[in-house]
Amino acid sequence: MFAVLGTMGLVSLYFLSIGVPIEKYADAGYSFFLLLTGSTDFSMANPGYSASAIIMSGAGITLPLALISLVILVLIALSVAAISTTTEYLEKKHGNKIIPKLLTFGKAVSILLAAIPLFVGFWVFGEKYGNNAPFLLIAFITITLGGLGWDASRFLLIDMQRQMGTTHTMVFSTLGLPLGRLFPLPGTFSGYLLSSSFPRFIPYLAGKVPAIIGGVTIAEIIFSFPGLGSTLLDALLARNTDLLIASVFILLCVNAVVTFIVKTVLFFLYPRLYEKAI
């Protein structure tokens, strides 16, 4: 519903501002209907573009890239938060000074990576790999450069650090369970902190999905992948309204699907917190 209404809203605004005749609205509406019904030749004005081809460019490239990026984002945030919180714990409890210094160096590197513009990273790697760049590498660049990974790690870290001072965490730390220094696995100290922070972290992730899709779109344009980003740019270049509607719609669908997956995870993990958090 969000994708259908969003597409109709964006395209109507576009038509209104360029002042197209009323027939054009009807044509675009009919093309949109053909797209929704999965017609093989949905565009009347520009025959040759099939709905399934555009859907496939979203399902085959944009969606997997967005999902891989999301997984990498989660892994980086969890790992950074676990390393930082356990190091802070060790420093406070055992006076360990060496690892915190390494951590400061790590923070400086993460700021440096976050400051490098995403498109610069894509172009430098694009020059090396061309169209054969692996999805995993693109997803990794999308998250590490441009600040997405940095922001997610900081969000989770600050939340987990807040939990460290609470009484229930202090009680848990006396049980003698492993710290979980590299990853917050269940049954570890960092895993326990994460279980308190997760209900806030998952809605945060859901809010970051559009930013991930935006990054993936830029990657598709730079690497010339036949994904939705390239289709969208082609549509703008050719002033092809039908293709524009289709690519915006599928892009919003991909956005909605990834957000839905993230929110479903929250629903299954914390059913009681779901309504409050969302």
């Binding site: 360029i18 976050a114 498109f119 559009p210 344009i221 919003l252």
Partner: protein
């Protein structure tokens, strides 16, 4: 020791944003970059001059709207809920799509008018589009701490003295917590605009060439125009020269954001 560290950090931040000051006095660069063509040098200076104008204008516009809507959201919670729903819908659309759609209707105007007027209109469209993409996060940045102060900490004692809600909020807006929040929001807005402006400029230059919109210059577009400099036989400095100040400025904003998040703890 802590104070000294803070002074050092502020000094570093000033050094990192120096490119913005240098481009307004281009004569400083006279002794440097002599091997570059005058056209490239003037494009470099112009793109950073325009970026500084874009950042400043968008920051002022976005901050004004953020403060107003953030204040209203807490003052009248019914309006706050409507604003939150609208902003949530805006946030669900990728920022790059919002900017692309904002430019599309004006593309013909920008192509058919003089450079000065199309540049000004292009800047205005960008400010509008960038503000739209920034608002959800920046308003949340105001309403969360302000709401917490109002509903949890001070409201009861203030109300017991018979103060009106608007008066209480006006007092709370001047607290240290809110000052840190404003600083963090400003750094966040600047970083987001910087990223959006340069990414958009890069993509448009890549797709449409120099005739594409936005018509206002951007370091992203300059980087894209010289992207082939990385290929064999090219002059890589043309590519990396605008990247370096961009990274410096981004680091300055990121340091400011990191400090404020730590203060928040």
């Amino acid at each position: 020791m802590k104070k000294l560290f803070k002074y050092l950090q502020n000094f570093c931040i000033i050094i990192l944003v120096l490119p913005f000051l240098v481009v307004w006095v281009p004569s400083i660069l006279d002794g440097f970059l002599t091997g570059l063509s005058p056209a490239y040098r003037s494009s470099l200076v112009l793109s950073f001059q325009q970026l500084s104008i874009t950042l400043l204008a968008t920051l002022l516009f976005a901050a004004l709207i953020t403060l107003t809507l953030g204040y209203i959201s807490i003052l009248w919670s019914a309006i706050g809920k409507i604003i939150a729903a609208v902003l949530e819908a805006i946030e669900s659309v990728p920022a790059i799509l919002i900017v692309l759609f904002s430019y599309a209707p004006a593309a013909r105007y920008l192509a058919s008018h003089s450079e000065a007027s199309s540049s000004a209109v292009s800047l205005m469209i960008f400010i509008f589009a960038a503000t739209l993409t920034i608002l959800p996060e920046s308003i949340r940045g105001i309403t969360l701490p302000l709401g917490e102060l109002y509903y949890r900490k001070y409201s009861l004692s203030f109300r017991s003295y018979g103060f009106r809600r608007s008066k209480i909020l006006a007092v709370l807006m001047r607290t240290d917590v809110m000052r840190h929040a404003f600083k963090r929001i400003a750094a966040g807005i600047l970083l987001k605009i910087l990223v959006l402006d340069c990414s958009f400029g890069f993509i448009i230059q890549l797709g449409f060439g120099s005739y594409g919109t936005p018509a206002h210059a951007s370091p992203g577009a300059l980087i894209a125009a010289n992207r082939d400099a990385l290929f064999q036989g090219g002059y890589p400095l043309l590519f990396w020269l605008p990247v370096l100040p961009l990274v410096m400025i981004s680091i300055a904003f990121l340091i400011t954001l990191t400090n404020n998040k730590e203060n928040e703890k």
